[in-house]
Amino acid sequence: MTPDQIIFLFCAALIVSSALMVVTTRNLVHAALWLVAALFGVAILYGLLQASFLALVQVVVYIGAIAILFIFAVMLTRREMRDKGPQINQNWVISALLALLTFAGLAYILSSWDGFSRTAKALPAGVDPLMVLGKALVSPDAFVLPFEVASILLLAALVGAVYIATSSKE
């Protein structure tokens, strides 16, 4: 096993176990913190795949902004941080079965793919993936249209949020 594989296994275990903790823990702030751990594991996975930009954006956006807003919202809205109701209903057997079946199906399909057992190729020397990504985002032959549409969508959401926040005052 290469060191990369050991790190991958460690991270996969971290992601799966913390994702499980997110839904099973009764304390809402703990759930948010476990979510941070899961998201951090995903960032490490991006790093292993040599997508350093994505890894850091994952940390900045998901941990730095979204998870912290989650924690804030939970702290400010709930007086009692503990969930008292039952966590599962009687359908849990069927859903567990379905989840297992989906996993088995995905694993089966992926195992017949020839990329399944290959390790990631090293990037060719002299190529800066960040430069390639940046140019692709603003190049007319690549992703300039989706990029701009997404930014207009975000702007519209921002304007909407400001409108809702100000109109409630009157």
Binding site: T2, P3, N27, V29, H30, L33, V36, S52, F53, L56, V57, V59, V60, I63, G64, A65, A67, I68, I71, F72, M75, D128, P129, L130
Partner: protein, 406 residues
């Protein structure tokens, strides 16, 4: 490659040959050597933190017209060790109703968020942890762990003051992250790379502070806010909320927060040097002359970097100990209505002028003058605004009652 030209790689190569000599394969050898490198870098950062305790106490004493620690060793230089012993033997108290796991993890994450930055600090041209092509973004990403640790500490302490302190700190950090990111984009645009080593090398002839003095100012203000130091130290305003988010921490757990804060300030001083003052290099091309070739020796570069970082740290301390704390609404208004718009205007201006003027010989002059003009416009707008506010205030104020004298 000798020890004097490339010390870290020389030692790493020697270690590799030792491990290979013991019969280890190449893979484990690389892993073990890298781990040793990581531990050495962390130890170096922590040793600096110990020294900073003395520097901070001595400098604050001078600002407040005192002598500072002067009993233990010459100039009190061994005071930090006495401090450490004191912190270690203090009783470790966990408050009732605290969330134990989160409470204990918060100081660790707080210090880790600072230590993680040291992975990319370019101490010299060949003494650094790793040179990644997204170094600038890394600096911002790691800062979000600091925010997280503050929330964890404030919430897990089960203390109202701690929670209020954490809320204030997070409000500061989230708001001032925006001008900081934008200010960091300015050296990125001028250097054409996000790697901190690349930015340092781009300044070998000219420091970026000359091309973008406003960028330095923006970075410095937002860095001080990000550190939660005065005048932005609302998170630990002792007259209102006692000590803020670390109120319940005792002994070495408090020590971790304290060491993390000092090291963070020093690190930001270092990054001020990296982004605007040429980092470990920036001798204005002097090192290319044969008579001054010794300037590119890694040990000289290390000393240059540490001196520049200390100067940056000293400026941060200077601001901290001579400015009063500002009110929270003023702080947020200052950020959202002044700093953020200014940062965006400066970013657009820098990008435009960098593109237009780069091929011409007016590049340096044009960049500098555009900054000066923008600063002048901003000061004029502020003057008009404050005048209008003052007139408004005077109109609404109670008329002064003249007391008749007999």
């Amino acid at each position: 490659m000798t020890f004097w030209n490339d010390p870290i790689n020389f030692i790493a190569g020697w270690l590799r040959s030792v491990f290979m000599g013991w019969g280890l394969a190449a893979g484990p050898t690389n892993v073990i050597t890298s781990l040793i490198g990581i531990i050495v870098m962390i130890l170096f950062a922590m040793l600096i933190a110990i020294a900073l305790v003395w520097v901070e106490r001595k400098v604050v004493a001078r600002f407040q017209d005192r002598l500072g620690p002067n009993r233990i060793g010459p100039f009190g230089i061994f005071q930090p060790f006495a401090d450490i012993v004191k912190l270690i033997i203090k009783e470790d108290i966990t408050p009732d109703g605290a969330d134990k796991a989160v409470f204990n993890m918060a100081p660790v994450i707080s210090l880790a968020s600072v230590i993680l930055i040291w992975a990319i600090v370019p101490l010299a041209s060949n003494i650094y942890g790793v040179d990644i092509n997204v170094g600038v973004l890394y600096l911002v990403a790691v800062g979000s762990f600091g925010t997280l640790s503050v929330i964890m500490a404030g919430w897990a302490s089960n203390n109202k003051y701690a929670l209020i302190g954490a809320f204030r700190m997070v409000a500061t950090m989230i708001s001032y992250e925006i001008p900081m990111v934008v200010a960091l984009m300015i050296p990125t645009i001028i250097a054409g790379t996000m790697s901190v080593k690349g930015i340092t090398e781009a300044q070998s002839d000219l420091w970026f502070v000359i091309l973008s003095p406003l960028g330095l100012l923006l970075f410095m203000i937002s860095a001080i806010a990000e550190l939660g130091r005065s005048p932005f130290d609302l998170n630990e305003a002792e007259s209102e909320i006692v000590a803020g988010f670390h109120i319940e921490y005792t002994g070495m757990k408090f020590g971790l927060f304290y060491a993390g804060e000092l090291l963070h300030a020093f690190t930001f001083g270092g990054f001020m040097a990296v982004f605007f003052f040429g980092g470990y290099g920036g001798f204005f091309g002097l090192e290319k002359l044969t008579a001054f070739a010794w300037l590119s020796n890694p040990f000289i570069e290390l000393v240059v970097f540490l001196v520049k970082a200390l100067i940056g740290y000293w400026i941060i301390m200077w601001v901290k100990y001579s400015m009063p704390r500002i009110r929270i609404d003023h702080m947020l208004t200052f950020n959202w209505k002044f700093l953020t718009p200014l940062a965006f205007v400066l970013l657009m201006m820098t990008a435009l002028f960098d593109n237009l003027l780069a091929p011409t010989q007016f590049y340096v002059l044009g960049m500098f003058l555009s900054n000066v003009v923008l600063a002048w416009i901003v000061i004029e707008i502020l003057r008009k605004y404050s005048k209008r506010e003052r007139l408004e205030h005077e109109k609404n104020a109670e008329p002064v009652i003249q007391v008749a004298h007999h």
